[in-house]
């Protein structure tokens, strides 16, 4: 027996859930199908080792759109975001760069290296504020299609033109630079201190198979800067209970609105008849009928795996094949018997409540990238560490800690061997690197989970383990994400939509693709508002 839904959402990651929640709130009969036993996709927190909560993949929150938090009333569904306000960058010589919310202390800390840079730091912060303010507009619109030029596209392009040409000239120019420069060159316009440039440029390489000196990374830097928490750009936070709590809160909001969420329900393919979707077939053979199917999976899965290529125009197939994933990062999650002790800042200080970034110099990051370019994981990787249990004690037993280490570069495609062979060696490299800065680390590890790009792909389905469902490079942004002509969440198959991070405005725990896609679906179904972008 088959049941007919209004909308089936494939994938219960945060975007799929946001999408479902908005559609359910519009009164549609929605069903979310999640392959894994728990919702969240890459936004999950699991007790892999008894007593210790690992945010297995994504680990901090910043980009989550404030309007989604408000409209879905996520705080009522359990979402609490705790501040993460310092960054410690240890140096090999035992020195460090420590930046926190105390403006004057951060100033003096940078001034130890260069007074000019300390002054430039404020200027830089303001410049990125301008940029985030300018780009914020894009996060809330469906990209117009400059090649189609339907009336909606023309007015969309005109509005876009008005928005950007209305910026102050300096800001417009800075934006043009940001879209095209390397993060190292971009930062070079302000700073001379290597460690400062390095640790700032690290945001420009996250999730991207590019080094800090590669053009295009400056945009990624901005992508990590335009998150807003309580009206402040660039605020990074940590979800109480781990990032999985974000997904749980959205799922709860969706359920309350009437959406059905089925876990352990992997979808095998999307059913298409006469160029129109009729529903999905599950891996177990069941078929579910729906007027609309929305896929929150990445473009490769959405277009090439779930649908028969014959249903798609050649150019779309070519376009999706040329779409770059190139997973470049892994995770190492640790259960610790005690707090790690960083030799550059010994003891149990407030720095443990912030991020610790292993990014001592631009060359260090660039060398890490070089290794990956030739098919190896970095011998000395960039590592971004947070210790969730130092912020939220519920994450580990009293006195013990969990430590989340985001590691780059770990190329999906290795020149020699497989990730299954190299997983532990990769883990050892990360621990060895960390132990250079936190000598007690090796003695306090109770358990470690090494997550390679292959593991990310296997567990979450993200192609090549790319955390953004595709690189955030200018050729894959806005009306080009995922492919020209299909950036408005529709697909060549009628009734079949995309709502994942592989669409505008891209990855991170943002929720915007899910929400914008919901607007398009509702518009097409003649429901509610959301006729924008027709």
């Amino acid at each position: 027996m088959t049941r007919r839904y209004d909308v089936i959402v494939i994938g219960g990651g945060h975007n799929g859930l946001v999408h479902a929640a908005y559609l359910a709130r519009a009164g549609l009969d929605v069903c979310v199908l999640e392959a894994r036993p728990l919702v969240g996709g890459a936004t999950v927190t699991e007790e892999i080792f008894p007593g210790f909560q690992y945010s297995v993949f994504s680990y901090v929150v910043s980009l989550m759109r404030p309007d989604i938090i408000r409209e879905l009333d996520l705080p009522r569904h359990g979402l609490a975001i705790l501040p993460l306000e310092s960054t410690l960058t240890p140096l090999p010589d035992g020195d460090r760069l420590y930046r926190d919310a105390d403006h004057h202390r951060t100033w003096r800390e940078i001034a130890r290296f260069s007074i000019r840079d300390a002054e430039a730091y404020d200027d830089y912060g303001r410049s990125l504020f301008y940029m985030a303010r300018a780009v914020k507009y894009l996060l809330d619109i469906v990209p117009p299609d400059p090649a189609r030029l339907a009336p909606g596209d023309i007015s969309g392009m005109l509005r876009l033109g008005r928005h950007f040409l209305g910026l102050e000239p300096d800001q417009l120019h800075l934006l043009a630079k940001l879209m095209t420069m390397s993060s190292a060159d971009f930062l070079e316009e302000w700073f001379e201190t290597d460690v400062l440039k390095a640790t700032l440029s690290a945001s420009g390489i996250i999730g991207t198979f590019l080094g800090p000196r590669s053009p295009g990374t400056a945009y990624v830097l901005l992508h990590h800067y335009m998150g807003e928490i309580d009206g402040h750009f660039r605020a990074w936070g940590f979800a109480k209970g781990g990032t999985g709590a974000v997904a749980r809160a959205i799922a709860s909001a969706a359920r309350e609105a009437g959406a059905e969420i089925r876990t352990d329900a992997p979808v095998a393919r999307v059913l298409v008849q006469n160029g129109r979707t009729t529903g999905v077939a599950l891996a177990n053979g069941d078929e579910l009928r729906a007027k609309v199917v929305s896929s929150s999976l990445d473009p490769r899965r959405t277009f090439l795996d779930l649908v028969d290529e014959g249903e798609l125009p050649d150019e779309v197939v070519q376009g999706v094949r040329g779409y770059r994933f190139r997973g470049s990062s892994g995770k190492v999650n640790l259960a610790l018997d005690a707090a790690p002790d960083f030799s550059c800042m010994p003891g149990h200080g407030p720095h443990l409540r912030g991020a610790v970034s292993i990014s001592p110099s631009i060359d260090y990051l660039e060398r890490a990238y070089d290794d990956a370019r030739y098919g190896d994981f970095s011998r000395e990787p960039y590592i971004d560490i947070v210790i969730p249990s130092a912020i939220d004690p519920a994450m580990a037993p009293p006195g013990k800690h969990v430590m989340s280490c985001f590691v780059q570069y770990a190329p999906y495609e290795l020149r020699e061997g497989t990730w299954d062979d190299k997983r532990e060696a990769f883990g050892d490299t990360v621990i060895d690197t960390l132990a250079r800065y936190a000598p007690n680390l090796k003695d306090i590890i109770l358990h470690r989970q090494v997550v390679t790009p292959l593991d990310i792909e296997r567990t979450t389905g993200l192609s090549q383990g790319n955390i953004f469902q595709g690189e955030l490079t200018p050729s894959q942004l806005f009306f080009l994400r995922p492919v020209a002509g299909y950036a408005k969440y529709r697909t060549p198959v009628r009734g079949y939509y995309q709502c994942g991070s592989g669409t505008h405005p891209g990855g991170g725990i943002m929720g915007a693709p899910g929400k914008l896609a919901a607007g398009v679906v509702m518009g097409d179904l003649g429901r509610g508002k959301g006729r924008r972008g027709r």
Binding site: L91, D93, D95, R112, F113, S114, I115, R116, P146, A147, L149, L165, P169, D170, L172, H173, L174, A176, K177, M179, T180, M181, D185, E188, E189, E192, T193, D194, V195, L210, R213, S214, P215, G216, R321, G322, R324, S361, D363, E366, D370, R373, Y374, T473, P474, S475, F479, L480, A484
Partner: protein, 549 residues
């Protein structure tokens, strides 16, 4: 003393082109060149006794012949040479891959490596030409002043937009997608053969310090194809008499229209009075008053050396200081007593002969530049002009000019700047940069010869004489800041309305009546003469406006 309508600083090909356009409008024009010959880096001079050598630029394929009329070049002013081979890639072990002007021959050649690549190549060649045509629309027109889109400016945008739209909106969108791509991605999507990809990727390298994996490479590939007839590689054409023939023809055309060209005359300063350029001060102390001054020098040299930073605002100076100037190319001129030993040498070596066997080879060569070192195994681009015009050298002799990448101007003396090195001295924008010198010179020469031995064995035995030109020499001899022969990197962040600096596109400067006409302005470097042409038109416009108001 007679007052000129325009004094041009430097007689590079762009300044000469500007002089031609202005002189043809009846302007009283004076061109001042520090060196003894005109042409700047597009000059052909006696480097070895009795031999005329293209000092830096080798290929004039980007020059668009249809512009000859606008510059007043006679129909027979230039004799073009189109050798049968466009490029030959040396693959080591005697293997090589040649792209011929004859598409069938090229297909056959590629098929020896990969049948699929061979059948895909014609489509690629068409794609490259068609994308280059769209890009050309942008290069032919002044860059829009996005920060100041007055009604008049908007109207000026209509023509290029309409032209681009005629080529197809989808193509325009495709161009937007493709411009930022790395050469590697663009080529990976089409070809399997590493030899072919390595070879094609070399056209993405000039104008940037990055390797084939860096974004923006596709733009440079297309840019180097905007001269038309790229044959899947790049627009390539040579001249009887060498590249310098073009500069000399331009100089002759300008003189024919009454322009004065004084060589051996160095401009020491551009004098600014009350915010406007009024005259130039020559090295000998002579002052030449002019209604406007047009600088063919690169923007940093123009603003910080010739005008002087204190004459300009600190915010503008910051922008000028931040222009990425990164010479990474050295040039080795060889005098040979015979062609390098290779079968069909006269045919195969007549285009660009490349050491670029794989993408990774290029990538590794460029890695060195990232860390401020010379490539241990450099990428070489060899041109033998005596195959185009044997009279350049005594009978039986050949000249080979080799572009060597990467030999960065900015060498790293100490590995990393220590955290406690203290603040940099006031006003120093580029700490830690040491120009190429000393034993590194010998090493670069040795590495280049080793690479030649590996890929073109036997060449070394035929060398009668050599001359190595480093980025530092390019700076001191040709006035190229940091040895950057493009007057600023050709990255997407330094193009169009961002070139030379944001807010000052359109060849104008914060100094009234001072204009720029060099490769540091839109549309950029290469022997195109386009910056000079667009600058001259902009200057004429400015004069019309001034007359009207």
């Amino acid at each position: 003393m007679k007052k000129y309508d325009a004094v041009l600083v430097g007689a590079g090909h762009n300044a000469l082109a500007a002089a031609c356009v202005l002189a043809r409008r009846g302007w009283k024009v004076l061109v001042l060149e520090r060196r003894g010959v005109v042409g700047g880096v597009a000059a052909t001079e006696e480097v070895f006794p009795g031999c005329r050598v293209n000092v830096a630029a080798q290929d004039a394929g980007l020059f668009r012949r249809e512009l000859g009329d606008e510059f007043g070049l006679g129909a027979r002013a230039l004799e073009w040479v189109h050798p049968p081979a466009v490029a030959t890639s040396l693959l080591g072990g005697g293997d090589r891959l040649t792209l011929w002007r004859d598409p069938a021959a090229t297909r056959g050649e590629i098929a020896r490596h990969s049948r699929a690549d061979a059948s895909g190549f014609p489509e690629w060649a068409d794609y490259l030409d068609s994308m280059a045509r769209v890009l050309r629309v942008g290069l032919d027109h002044p860059a829009p002043a996005l920060h100041d889109l007055t009604r008049r400016e908007r109207l000026r945008l209509l023509r290029p937009l309409a032209q681009a739209a005629r080529l197809g909106r989808r193509r325009v969108v495709e161009l937007l997608r493709v411009l930022p791509l790395p050469a590697r991605d663009l080529l990976d999507d089409r070809f399997a053969g590493d030899a072919l990809k390595g070879m094609l990727a070399t056209t993405a390298l000039p104008g940037a310090s990055h390797g084939p994996g860096a974004m923006g490479g596709a733009f440079r590939m297309l840019y180097h194809a905007t001269g038309g007839h790229a044959h899947g590689f790049r627009s390539s054409a040579f001249l009887k008499g060498g590249v310098g023939a073009l500069s000399e023809a331009l100089a002759a055309a300008a003189r024919a229209r009454g322009a004065e060209i004084r060589t051996g005359t160095e401009v020491e300063r551009i004098i600014v009075e009350d915010g406007a350029a009024t005259k130039v001060l020559l090295a000998g102390g002579e002052e030449v008053p002019a209604h406007c001054v047009v600088s063919g020098a690169d923007p940093r040299r123009t603003f910080h050396d010739l005008v002087g930073a204190p004459q300009l605002g600190p915010e503008f100076n910051r922008k000028v200081a931040n222009i990425q100037m990164r010479g990474t190319t050295a040039i080795l001129h060889l005098l040979l007593d015979d062609l390098p030993p290779l079968d069909d040498a006269e045919q195969r070596l007549a285009g660009h002969t490349l050491v670029a066997p794989t993408l990774d080879y290029l990538e590794r060569a460029s890695d060195a530049a990232k860390y401020g070192r010379c490539s241990p195994r450099p990428h070489l681009d060899i041109v033998i002009p005596t195959l185009h015009d044997p009279t350049l050298a005594p009978p039986g002799r050949h000249i080979a000019s080799i572009q060597i990448r990467y030999a960065p101007y900015h060498l790293r003396a100490t590995p990393v700047r220590g955290p406690h090195a203290g603040p940099s001295p006031g006003g120093d924008f580029a700490p830690g940069a040491t120009p190429l010198a000393g034993d590194i010179f010998d090493e670069l020469l040795a590495r280049t010869c080793d690479t030649l031995d590996e890929f073109l064995p036997g060449t070394r035995d035929r060398i009668l004489d050599h001359r190595l030109v480093t980025p530092l020499d390019l700076e001191s001899e040709f006035g190229l800041t940091c040895g950057d022969e493009y007057h600023g990197q050709m990255g997407l962040d330094q193009l169009a309305f961002m070139r030379p600096v944001a807010g000052w596109a359109r060849h104008r400067t914060p100094v009234e009546r001072l204009f720029l006409c060099g490769a540091g302005t839109h549309p950029g470097g290469g022997v195109t003469c386009m910056p000079g042409r667009l600058a001259a038109r902009e200057i004429l416009r400015a004069r019309r406006h001034a007359a009207r108001s």
